[in-house]
């Protein structure tokens, strides 16, 4: 990529928009005076302040999900220059350098139903978390004293899995995540591992493994490894899938002989 010392005059962005789930998609282009240090969420904020396209058409602010603006709430996942990433940490300067013509493109995630513009419905992930009982079934919230002691090594392996922000980027980039397979996706498998590793959570270990056996479960994984590359929180997804794959298989064998 050629180094250029010339400050760009303007930031150009084209947004794939859609007014409602049923209407057709269309593209609108915007242009703003250049400022350094912008990210996509601040760029969308500029559009909200002056929603006029490059053709001079008065339009509406772009609808998109965002909350924390620091890559921890998982809201703002979208396709930026064709790649699934978080809008808040997508820096405009880097994105402009990525493109041939300096025009940044924004589009909603492609594998989830569009609500409006860049906002999509990702509730399927939360339904999947119920399927694998992604929780520790405590007796009650009354005081029962401390939990068991736990080696730091267990915490060090669990903690990265607890960083999952449910952004669904892993599902977006996964070739196996589609309507045909009904694959739960990497995030759900990693959460199952997280809870199987907890001393109290492990009481549901067999049930979680059975939930991941069969259609839509771990067998759908095709080892593309897109998930671990795309995960904004660098979760060890393929390691989790590999570990859980083995555990699911062992459980199936046990069940075959025991039941």
């Amino acid at each position: 990529m050629a180094e250029t010392k010339v400050t760009p005059k303007s930031i150009k962005v084209e947004v794939k928009r859609q007014a409602t789930p049923e209407t057709a998609a269309f593209v609108e282009k915007f242009e703003f005076p250049y400022r350094s240090g912008m990210n996509i969420t601040s760029l969308l904020g500029e559009i909200a302040m002056a929603p006029v396209t490059t053709e001079g058409k008065q339009t509406t602010a772009v609808t998109y999900d965002s909350n924390c603006l620091e890559e921890i709430c998982g809201s703002c996942a979208m396709l930026i220059n064709g790649k699934a990433r978080m809008a808040c940490s997508a820096l405009v300067d880097k994105l402009m350098a990525e493109t041939k013509d300096g025009v940044i493109s924004l589009a909603p995630l492609s594998k989830f139903p569009v609500v409006r513009d860049l906002a999509v419905d990702r509730s399927v992930l939360f339904e999947n978390l119920k399927k694998v009982q992604a929780w520790v079934p405590i007796d009650g919230s009354y005081d029962l004293g401390p939990g068991p002691r736990q080696f730091p090594q267990i915490q060090e392996e669990r903690y990265p899995l607890s960083n999952c922000i449910s952004c669904t980027i892993c599902m977006e980039v996964c070739p196996q995540f589609n309507e045909a397979t009904g694959f739960v996706g990497a995030a759900t498998i990693a959460q199952a591992k997280l809870f199987n590793m907890d001393p109290a959570g492990a009481v549901l270990k067999e049930e979680r493994l059975r939930a991941l056996a069969g259609d839509g479960g771990i067998q759908e994984c095709g080892f593309a490894q897109n998930c671990v590359q795309a995960c904004p929180k660098q979760l060890p997804l393929t390691e989790a899938i590999s570990d859980m794959g083995r555990d699911v298989f062992v459980q199936q064998v046990k069940d075959f002989f025991a039941r």
Binding site: S66, N67, I72, L91, V115, R116, F126, G147, Q155, Y159
Partner: protein, 593 residues
Amino acid sequence: MAAVPKIIVVGGGLAGLSSVIKIAEAGGKVDLFSIVPVKRSHSVCAQGGINAAKNLKGEGDDVFKHFDDTIYGGDFLANQTPVKNMTAQGPAIIDLLDRMGVPFNRTPEGLLDFRRFGGTLYHRTAFAGATTGQQLLYALDEQVRRFESEGKVQKYEGWEFLSAVLDEAGVCRGICAMDLRTMEVKTFHADAIIICTGGNGAIFGKSTNSVVCTGSAASALYQQGAYYSNGEFIQVHPTAIPGEDKLRLMSESARGEGGRVWVPRKKGDPRPAKTIPEADRFYFLEEWYPKYGNLVPRDIATRAIHRIVYQEDLGIDGQPMVYLDVSHIDRETLEKKIEGILEIYEKFVGEDPHEVPMKIFPGVHYTMGGLWVDFNQMTNIPGVFAAGESDYSIHGANRLGANSLLSCIYGGFVAGPQAMLYAKNLPAQKGDGGAAKEEVRQREFNNILLQNEGTENPFKLWRELGDTMTRHATIIRYNAGLREADEKIVDLLARYRNINLSDKSAWANTSFAFARQLYNMLQLARVIVQGAEKRDESRGAHYKPDFTERNDEKFLKTTMGSYDPIADAPVITYEEVDTQWITPRPRRYDASA
């Protein structure tokens, strides 16, 4: 009297989820309303840790010391009884979170690890890396998902609270809310409601808060007659990363693990930070406050940084920035204890804090004030409870780091059962309890807003609000400036009537939702600046160069903000503070080590 109490909880952060858990366990029916999917609530942003005096470091810590540190840190403004109860429950709350599967950092013996945080000399902050809010929120989210799968909780995610439904006697009988996709306005019946809607950083424009932290729900209740207390107490966190759209928090835990704040001794020193030798570095917090050093409470640290930049003129390169340095700490410690926040710095600034000092500046962070509540978390409106950052009850004039996560869970754990108790004794409502009338009122506001043919853009009005609030109502306050801010807000309210929404559609209209929040932000902002103007003293985070001393005789009182609908303005009065356990004493952190 309802056979099975029906409670509505508004807000799905730590306080809201804590309330929900208690209600579901007690067999109540609970509806949980949230603007965003609950695991995306602002609680997720909390970084450093959660306090409890478990005394696992052999220091002789106990709940009374935690209580005293909190009251002292809050400059004696908080009512003491709720704080005493909170610190007493701290150890049990942390144990519960541990049992729920929160991956707290552990010691080699397998016990919970604790770090030191601001405003205390004891290691009493349990943590999960430097993303503790995330792990705590997820643990409660998971428990509520379990209840949801069992049919005990109904979630309304993507809905925004507009107002409480109040019957003829002024008793709450439910809420009026808006579906943020269909823009439909609907009332929901409840025997009691619990407001857990967080703080109001968005009023200041840029802050460490998330987009939903507008204070809109609290403001709506204030306009319906709830007291809003101590609104003028706004915490400006000393170490935030300046940014275009947000001030990103750089957790106090960086200092807890040994991070040091400094500036070059020489004004405008051109050398790269790493090459400046120790002798040429001014570690000003350590020099000015030998005992607490870099871990003085936040208001003290913020004012020190402000003074370094604006009075001593020693900001880096003449900019409003100082160094927060962790580069001298070994990699392994950084990775185990605070990797999450260092990643934030690297991602958004592009420099590696393992190698070079971070550049930071104070930023608006937390709302100590909020809805007034009694010791059972009920506001002055019968049936309306509040908990978490949206209530005023725990942190007085300044919040200690790592007390917020504790106060949210404590508040929710009190509000849930109290709301159930209240509901069980509530006489049945007459007719529809005022629901139809409230729905009409809200729809009318919406119609006017949607059809208004004006020229003002709500996002631009919001920018102007943020500018004036940041300039006049944050670290340093002058009465003339606060009056100017109030006049500006009144002007913005007038211009609001000339608003024109670029988006008039009835589907997922974010401009419309924002415009509604803006109106409430403007009303609440006046409570903040007027409370600040009338408080002629300095206490905790509230600092006036014209009144530098604390004045207990006149102002050891809770500011009570109430809305006068005729005058369309706040009315400020005062209430005595419960000081029965600890006698107020001067608050100084500059003792020698």
